[in-house]
Amino acid sequence: MFDKIAETPIGDIQGRDPVRVKTKSPLLSVVLALREGGRGAAIVEDGAGKLLGIFTERHLITKLDHSSQSWHDISVDDVMDSNPKTIEASHYIREALSIMSGDRIRQLPILDPDDHALGIVSIRDILSHIAEHYPDEFLNLPPDPEHEASDLHGG
């Protein structure tokens, strides 16, 4: 079971559509696109669709001054990670996990050989893949504790 998980190519994971924004997009528009798309990271592309960087919910907290709204019109290029870790579709889950765990990266752009982003694989995508394909082995659960603990959080 573990070998099958470890050696699943990233391209085999059912990904969700990524949020893509153009270079120089104003930051607030990127945040609104993330919210609408239900994602935590946006791919920033040039006019030819090449990956220039990624902007994540983490950057929103750590890189901006929220005491005013002056950041709303800043270009995403000024705040994004312009040298993100990436992975190729043919690489394995274990390589993605190793990169993600090592650097605490939640989202890895999947690149083709021409530096176009095919998508983003997130830590949730990987967990969902494992849970979906190996439910008996991986989530071999004893009775759910939720009902036992329900009085702790009001049911």
Binding site: A6, I61, R94, S98, L141, L152, H153
Partner: protein, 159 residues
């Protein structure tokens, strides 16, 4: 050989207490505003805060909440009460529950941080990183064993 694969399965069934980091839990009072929360998340280098009311868990506030419920909703952080944008009464697990419950919640519900309760008190937060770094180690160990052994394990494991 069966013992080795069996041993890995046992690791997945370990209690949550075996995965929690020593990092102290970071909390914020339910009376705080979102600007206070952002400053605390930055100074403490944390992805989430437990919101407490008189030491009792009232909610959880994460980076995703900040994106979706504050900035994405066009609210002003310094004028927004944390109580209005946190997830109130979050799902919790106990410190002795099997870690597989946490994996299931993270996979199906998208949680990355789960408050862990010990004897009716909030003990800590189990993060997706606590679980994933462990899983990554298990999978990497596998890679380091030679192929013939892997085949044998696969046969015995039965998939």
């Amino acid at each position: 050989m069966q013992g080795i694969e069996g041993g890995k399965m046992q690791q997945i069934q370990k209690p949550i207490s075996a995965f929690l980091s020593d990092k102290p839990v970071v909390t914020i009072a339910v009376s705080a505003n979102v600007m206070d929360a952002v400053e605390k998340m930055n100074s403490e280098h944390t992805e989430c805060l437990l919101v407490v009311d008189n030491k009792k868990l009232a909610g959880i506030f994460t980076e995703r909440d900040f994106l979706n419920r504050v900035i994405g909703a066009r609210l002003i952080p310094s004028e927004t009460a944390i109580a209005d944008v946190m997830t109130a009464n979050p799902d919790t697990l106990g410190i002795e529950d099997a870690v597989s419950y946490a994996v299931e919640r993270m996979a199906s519900r998208g949680f990355r941080n789960i408050p862990i309760i010990n004897n009716d008190e909030t003990a800590n937060v189990l993060t997706v990183w606590d679980v994933m770094s462990h899983l990554s180690e298990v999978l990497t160990e596998f890679e380091e064993n030679d192929a013939s052994e892997i085949e044998e394990w696969t046969d015995i494991g039965g998939g």
